[in-house]
Amino acid sequence: MSTPANKTPSAAPAANRVGLTLADYKGARSTLCPGCGHDAITNSIINAAFELGLEPHRLAKLSGIGCSSKTPAYFMRRSFAFNAVHGRMPSIATGVHIANRDLQLLGISGDGDTASIGIGQFTHLIRRNVPVVYLIENNGVYGLTKGQFSATADFGTKAKVGRTNELMPIDLCALAIELGCGFVARSFSGDPKQLRPLLKAALAHRGTSVVDILSPCVTFNNHEGSTKSYDHVKEHDAPLHDVTFIPPHEPITADYEPGEVRQVTLFDGSRVTLKKLEADYDPHDGMAAMVTLRRAREAGTFVTGLLYVNAQKPAFDREVGMVEAPLASLPLDRVRPPRRVLEEIMEAHRSGAAPR
């Protein structure tokens, strides 16, 4: 979009590569509790989408049920959205993708929505490798039903009313890696510097990408003794690397010492650079990722960053063998076989040659 002539360039809000401003990526005003981690994630999504220059009509927002699943209303108002039933967003995503493979799908879920009621659909989405960016806004509780433990609640964490969780958590990242997911990351709502490039990278990946985002619930899980409070997460956040996202065809500008960074090239040619922090970490090594996650659990820390990536994973579409054009766009003459086909089938049923 060109800058209107009667305005000075500095007065006009900055436009991205498709001519939209940051405001175009916003949605309705959030109705979540002030300070809720989910709102911070919404903000990161808005910024990531703006910076990437996503076209709103080419993206569909999908979600389940929960405070987290409400958030698609709060960003990208010009995109279609499907706020489904509890835990079943993956099946919606699968159907939407099949109908229109040109749509980019952004799925928002919660830890209750994914790790309990929706764990079956979550695992099968990954197994099929349906191209969806699947975000889990993980606060360890059911926010919307007022603070019950979810299946990601850490062992020994305390509920607001004093109960202690005696069950081991389900680590959704470890589960995703085990299922062969081609893009698995963990981040923190309070670390937009890490979250935004990870979101962009997830959007550039071709299959299912899972991003588990620790997102404190200020109302029901932000107290002393909770392992998902802001203070606790901040203190125990153990980033694996500094993450930078570089869109396709943009040069890498930063200078790195040799051996200091690892670079991941994604399907569309965009790259992610991972600058080493304490130890070197290879996100292509799934085994190492599992070990790292297990060690972190034992140490009571949260490893964040790009945990695992396999950009070569065969796409879902190839398996289904669909035509290039979205199925939803096919005209009648491409989906109704000609008269002679019916005649052929009728003849077979008349003569008895039809396979029974």
Partner: protein, 616 residues
């Protein structure tokens, strides 16, 4: 009917029976599941069909892959009455486990063919029993003992062909069309048929029921309801199917998969113009259907009782968020797992009001394989026009058994995708509001995700929403939206197929049936007429009820609603819809899992009429 002498192997009287019934008989074959009897039974059925005589075949099978008893009933009737009957004329008893009961159920004048070695119960002398050494006859033909088990059933095909007078030539042709490509199997089976035939010619008299050539099946096809439904979907332009295996609906999805693979590939690239997915469960199946349909595909699923129950939360969502979907429920006996391989019409109420809250759905009731084909297409048009789930209520009897039909007609009409606004149309209309009733019929307009127009996008949710699809908890708005949905349901009365009415002048009594019950109806009415009771008949084809249904009820003094469930579910729907006419409604109920027969209807209607006289 002439009583025949009790005969054993070798000493049968070869004289022909004195009274012979032509082209009107029932043949009942009792075998063991997984023993290859399907080919044998299909051969008999097809040979009779090829002789030009109307015929139907019903498989009464266990929920088991191999080893449990299974029965196949063939009804031959040149007047076209092809429903199940309660009695049989000829029995083939191949299963030692059930033989005693099977044979005991045979009445006077009947003929039983029993495999040698099966102990015979004491029987009155007016039943004919032929003991046939099937094993001994097949032995020289098939040296391999394992293979022999699969061919031995062909012996009874030959025997029955002789007893009933089925042309050997037609048997051979029927066998050929089934096994044509497997030359070796064809040879063996043919030899076994001939062995049976020769044995029977030599030792057994013809049965008192015979088949004679007619030309009543010329040009007709034999097909199962599920296959017909799959064909309807194929020509209706289905683009997405998601399903989870469950009897008796699997064969619909599998038939469709076969047709799609064959006929819906891009000629240049070989790529598919459809997708079919076997989902992880029925919740996922319906979820995928809704996602695909929302995004503009023609999407469907097929299931049965337990799977249908699992789908209900999403069905309610689709009702409220107004997403088209086609769901085939091939009903089987419930509750719970019930009798998974037996037929029923027991899902009516749970389908009509599927899901929590105020919901009411559109149901279609196919009554023939032809209907299955037509509704296979029309259900999509209806779902897209009404933007709501359409539930097609077939059943196991209709879905899995073959019946005769005229060849299906190629659709001359294009599809109807309902009120969809393209980007160009959005430019023309001043405003687009997803849930606004612009036309007064309760049906709003929709756009399809991916449309570029800045006004196209909307937010779909199962929570309270206003005309612009915005979240709201406003009581007035909620009630307004619900009232509009009720209005839309009213519109459906006239969009869905209306009833087929056959009115007898001056008849005070009406009969109302739907679905697979229709097969027994003509026959029942004919017998009632013979008993002096003229009846009118209404074949119900959809819920919500067309205004003509009301007019029919109003025109009869009494209406017997005939249905295959315990709780008179259709009668309940009718009473609810027309409380003022409720006193006219009577019920004929059949719920033992076996397809309904005409005699059951006749007996219960006559009983009802006698009570009526007493009451007066």
């Amino acid at each position: 009917m002439a009583a025949l002498a009790f005969s054993h192997e070798g000493d049968s009287s070869l004289s022909a029976p004195t009274h012979v019934r032509i082209n009107d008989c029932n043949l009942h074959v009792a075998t063991v599941n997984g023993s290859g009897s399907q080919t044998a039974n299909a051969t008999l059925l097809r040979a009779i069909f090829q002789m030009g005589v109307p015929v139907s075949g019903k498989n009464l099978f266990p929920s088991n892959i191999a080893g449990l008893p299974t029965w196949f009933t063939i009804r031959v009737n040149e007047r076209g009455h092809l429903a199940r009957t309660r009695t049989n004329d000829v029995l083939v008893a191949m299963n030692p486990e059930t033989a005693a009961d099977d044979i005991a159920a045979m009445g006077p004048g009947t003929v039983t063919v029993v495999n040698a070695g099966i102990p015979l119960p004491e029987l009155p002398s007016d039943r004919t029993v032929h003991v046939v050494p099937c094993g001994k006859l097949v032995e020289p033909i098939v040296p391999d003992a394992k293979l022999r088990k699969l061919v031995v059933n062909m012996i009874y095909v030959g025997v029955v062909a002789h007893l009933l007078g089925i042309d050997a030539e037609e048997i051979d042709r029927a066998l050929g069309s089934q096994l044509g490509r497997k030359q070796k199997a064809l040879e063996l089976n043919r030899a076994a048929v001939n062995a049976g035939l020769e044995y029977a010619r030599e030792h057994l008299p013809p049965a008192p029921v015979r088949i004679e050539r007619r030309s009543l099946t010329d040009g007709k096809i034999l097909i199962e309801g599920n296959t017909a439904a799959a064909l309807g979907a194929l020509f209706g332009g289905v683009t997405f199917v998601s399903w989870y295996p469950i009897t008796p609906s699997s064969s619909l999805a599998e038939a469709l998969q076969g047709y799609l693979e064959r006929y819906r590939r891009d000629p240049q690239t070989g790529e598919a113009t459809y997708a079919i997915l076997q989902a992880e469960d029925e919740i996922a199946a319906i979820g995928m259907v809704l996602g695909a349909s929302w995004a503009g595909a023609r999407a469907m699923t097929a299931t049965s009782g337990p799977g249908f129950s699992l789908m209900t939360e999403f069905i309610g969502y689709a009702y409220y968020a107004e997403i088209p979907a086609v769901i085939w429920d091939i009903q089987r006996i419930g509750p719970s797992t019930g009798l998974p391989t037996r037929t029923s019409q027991g899902d009516l109420l749970s389908a009509a009001f599927s899901s929590h809250g105020d919901t009411k759905h559109v149901l279609l009731f196919p009554a023939s394989v032809e209907d299955c084909y037509q509704y296979g297409m029309q259900a999509f048009d209806l779902a897209e026009r009404l933007q709501t789930p359409v539930l097609v209520m077939s059943d196991l009897d209709l879905g899995m058994n073959v019946s005769m039909a005229e060849p299906f007609a190629y659709p001359e009409e294009p599809w109807d995708r309902g009120k969809v606004l393209t980007d160009e149309e959005l430019d023309r209309v001043k405003t687009f509001e997803r849930y606004r009733d612009v036309d007064g019929d309760g049906i709003p307009y929709r756009t399809i995700p991916g449309q570029r127009h800045p006004a196209a996008a909307y937010f779909t949710r199962g929570s309270g929403h206003d005309e612009q699809a915005r979240y709201t908890e406003s009581s007035e708005t909620y009630a307004r939206v619900m009232d509009r949905l009720a209005r839309k349901h009213e519109t459906a009365r006239r969009l869905a197929p209306g009833p087929v009415i056959d009115r007898a002048p001056h008849a005070a009594v009406g009969l109302l049936s739907f679905g697979s019950t229709a097969w027994a109806m003509d026959e029942a009415r004919e017998r009632l007429r013979e008993d002096g009771l003229e009846t009118s008949h209404l074949l119900l084809r959809a819920y919500p009820f067309h205004p003509d249904v009301r007019a029919f009820l109003a025109s009869c003094e009494r209406v017997y609603v005939v249905e295959q469930n315990r709780d008179a579910q259709m009668a309940a729907l009718l009473r609810m819809d027309m409380p003022d006419l409720a006193p006219r409604i009577r019920s004929v109920l059949h719920y033992d899992g076996l397809p309904i027969d005409a005699r059951s209807i006749v007996e219960r209607v006559l009983h009802g009429e006698r009570e009526e006289v007493v009451a007066r």
